[in-house]
Symmetry: C2
Subunit: 263 residues, 2 copies
């Protein structure tokens, strides 16, 4: 038996998120069904991040066990890409250490949230951005984002549905920049994220950008631990899991008890 590791990209538009659900099309469901066709084994695939409905990924990590030792890594890579729908692609497949757990091996994740800041709605980019008509002030958003850096209790920035024991997380890097066409990009790297945390940060920074929240208020919003003080949960289609960081660009996780949460 071997443990295999996949680097996965997907357009989350058509899916009810990563996790298998009765009666819904999910990424996990598609992967497991393609694995069954390829191996004739009932395989359970586990992901570094349980992305929500409509959220995309360019760097999801997935692991699973197989007894089909005769199928080489490239066989999984090519075979899965032939079997999976066009909206899901395997970028790499490789053998991992026995029992490798992507959620435990993750030292942090990098997400990108994309706004579309223009007078009229986008057409080409519509499935990958949040359309904001009011002018976003980049400098205020940058200033506000800096207050989120470091280790904080992000209670005000997590969904009521979040099941994590606490909301203490470390943000290593946050950047707001302009991208191609009318895109404004929010890049966040953290050790782990509470449920909906990046999207609530994106919603709060939108409010900063339109002048509804002052950049100086972020510190007191964090301190309040009050979800109502932060902005709305930004819509899922703007969010993309860019990378799961497992190497020494980030410090190791201090203990194994706290699970990195879904976003």
């Amino acid at each position: 038996m071997r443990t295999l590791r996949l680097l996965l990209e997907y357009d989350g538009s058509e899916y009810a998120g990563w996790q298998v659900q009765e009666g819904a099309r999910t990424i996990q469901g598609e992967i497991e069904s393609a694995l069954f066709t390829l191996t004739q084994e009932r395989i359970r695939a586990r992901a570094a991040s349980r992305t929500d409905a409509g959220v995309h990924a360019r760097g999801q990590i997935v692991a699973f066990e197989t007894n089909r030792d005769q199928i080489p890594e490239i066989g999984f890579q090519r075979g899965l890409n032939a079997l999976l729908p066009p909206s899901i692609a395997v970028r790499q497949a490789s053998v991992a250490a026995d029992g490798y757990q992507p959620r435990r091996s993750s030292r942090g994740k990098r997400y990108r949230y994309s706004y579309w800041n223009a007078v009229e709605r986008p057409a080409i980019d519509r499935k990958f951005v949040w359309f904001v008509r009011q002018r976003l002030d980049l400098e205020s958003m940058k200033m506000a984002s800096r207050a989120l850096l470091g280790t904080h209790d992000f209670q005000a920035f997590r969904s009521a549905a979040c099941t994590s024991k606490h909301a203490i997380r470390t943000m290593y890097a946050i950047d707001v920049s302009s991208g191609e066409h009318a895109r404004i990009l929010l890049d966040v790297t953290g050790n782990a994220f509470c449920r909906n945390m990046v999207r609530i940060i994106a919603g709060t920074l939108r409010d900063v950008g339109i002048g509804k929240i002052d950049p100086g208020e972020i510190t007191s919003i964090i301190a309040s631990r009050d979800r109502k003080r932060a902005g709305m949960t930004a819509p899922p289609q703007g969010l993309c899991l860019e990378e799961v960081i497992e190497d020494d660009r980030l410090p190791p996780r201090p203990d194994k008890s706290e699970d990195p949460e879904r976003e």
Copy 2:
């Protein structure tokens, strides 16, 4: 009666191109149907470029006449965006000179062709790129592209279906560069284009990139005027009409007899 001018963006994936066709969904059809709902007039919309099936646009120019003088420009802009499908968006609407003809006012067009050069197929970008698995050599492609600059008879680079009187066109700028993720971008600005011309250039430069055609051969391919010497017609989803140039960044068209052709 007024002439209105629209700046249009569309995701061409779901459409049989610009031009109205019996039994097919087209951009022109959608625009005219939205205009009818808005004005109750049977309006004929004319475009700067009759883009082919599957081709995208960020800067298509469209003009039409209307007797609804009570509808302001912003009324057309907002009204059309509310009525059009999400894959088509009006970026701007403005009043133009009476009888304004976007095809005659065009001094040139800028197109972008996007390749996806990676070992495995893309998922997120799949509707907007041409997936090329063999490694593309950027330097060879750049070198080859320079041979296309200037005024040439592009007979070897046009579709058999092209109805233009001749294939003499001027390429003002051609650039090959790497873009985000696995994208390689071909940007072409010319006074006008024969049918499929950008896509045949893209197909030929792909062959240069994989080493099948030598960069030095381009000049003799042009001179041959032989379509079979050039590469395949690259698939439509990689192509986007970025901009129609009407101002003095480009020289005026020398005469009105030659029509800028569809691509």
